[in-house]
């Protein structure tokens, strides 16, 4: 473990630069979310509130998919729970690596947990100690970018074209694939990826909704458990 020996300001900026590619990638997605939400009848204020309070793109898009008038709080609330239940795993994994965070700092940090933030923080934790300032450096600009581009999308509305035409909808899958390559640790990782992809694919094919994410996570973890036999077990 490397002690960074940097000031909080340097740490914040280092986090910011590490996050820069993902900040660029989240902007078109935020714009599209705002435009879609405005199309469903949400006001710019409502769009901004949702992005600021929920801050979880996947569940926000799902909510727009099932949006009704008047809105059903139970329906979108349960959908958000289902889409975001993976956060339980993410926060357990990252929380164990936040040794230099106080209790309240950990809770504050987790309130801003998102796939992109978590993945970058996990990568960082493999090479250096995670510090609150560095974490704030990846969270603050990414959060602002998501909320402000959502507002801009709601205001611009229909002016925004289809992002698929120039491949921008592929920005996040591409970033996630680069991140997966960063987590590669040999055959063991290959096994986890295969098991996760196979479970996710099967559930995605047969079950409506976002269950495939949880299914893939469980499949991958099962593969990791099987390939790491417990020492207590008798041969």
């Amino acid at each position: 473990m490397v002690e960074t020996g940097q000031t909080a300001r340097q740490d914040f900026l280092a986090g910011f630069w590490r996050m820069a590619p993902l900040i660029v990638a989240v902007m078109p997605i935020g714009l599209v979310f705002g435009a879609v939400a405005a199309g469903k009848g949400l006001s710019p204020l409502e769009v901004t509130l949702m992005s600021a309070l929920v801050f979880a793109g996947g569940s926000q898009f799902v909510a727009m998919d099932i949006w009704t008038h008047p809105a059903s709080w139970a329906g979108v609330g349960f959908a958000a729970l289902l889409v975001n239940v993976r956060h339980v795993l993410l926060s357990a994994s990252l929380g164990a690596k936040m040794k230099s965070f106080s209790g309240p700092q950990k809770v504050g940090a987790m309130l801003f947990l998102a796939d992109e933030i978590w993945a970058i923080a996990e990568l960082r934790a493999r090479e250096a100690r995670l510090t609150p300032a560095w974490y704030a450096g990846i969270v603050a600009p990414f959060y602002l970018a998501w909320v402000l581009t959502g507002l801009a999308g709601a205001l611009l509305g229909r002016l925004i074209g289809d992002p698929a035409l120039i491949g921008l909808d592929f920005a996040f899958p591409a970033v996630f694939i680069v991140l997966i390559m960063g987590f590669w640790k040999g055959r063991q990782t290959g096994l986890v990826l295969l098991a996760s992809a196979a479970s996710a694919l099967a559930i995605h094919h047969f079950v409506e909704g976002a269950w495939y994410i949880a299914a893939g996570a469980v499949g991958g973890l099962a593969a990791a458990a099987i390939s790491n036999p417990s020492r207590e077990e008798r041969p």
Binding site: E46, N84, A171, I180, S196, G219, G220
Partner: protein
């Protein structure tokens, strides 16, 4: 700027559900002691979750997306994140225009 009551209730319900999932992991850590083996298994969470999230795009959307995912993975072997991801985006745009 309007704020509808049922819309606000829906937004708050989503926020409460999402925040609960974010904090639940910390609670789990607080009340369980992790054995070395459990830690090893938890190390598999990042690749397992990321693979699950991208699987429908990579394997069940279209040939353009599948090829672009392979191109991105190969680019990631040599290039920094922004460059590799940009190559993936350009690849998918070209492949879609080519009609794949």
């Amino acid at each position: 700027m309007s704020l509808d009551f049922s819309t606000l209730a829906a937004i708050l319900a989503m926020a409460v559900a999402t925040i609960a999932t974010r904090l639940a992991g910390l609670l789990v850590l607080r009340f369980t002691v992790l054995s070395p083996r459990t830690r090893l298994i938890l190390d598999a969470i990042p690749p397992a979750v990321l693979a699950a999230v991208v699987t429908p795009t990579a394997l069940a959307t279209g040939l353009a997306e599948t090829i672009a995912c392979v191109v991105t993975a190969l680019a990631a072997l040599r290039l920094p994140m922004l460059a590799a991801a940009a190559i993936g985006v350009v690849a998918v745009a070209i492949l879609r225009h080519a009609g794949l």
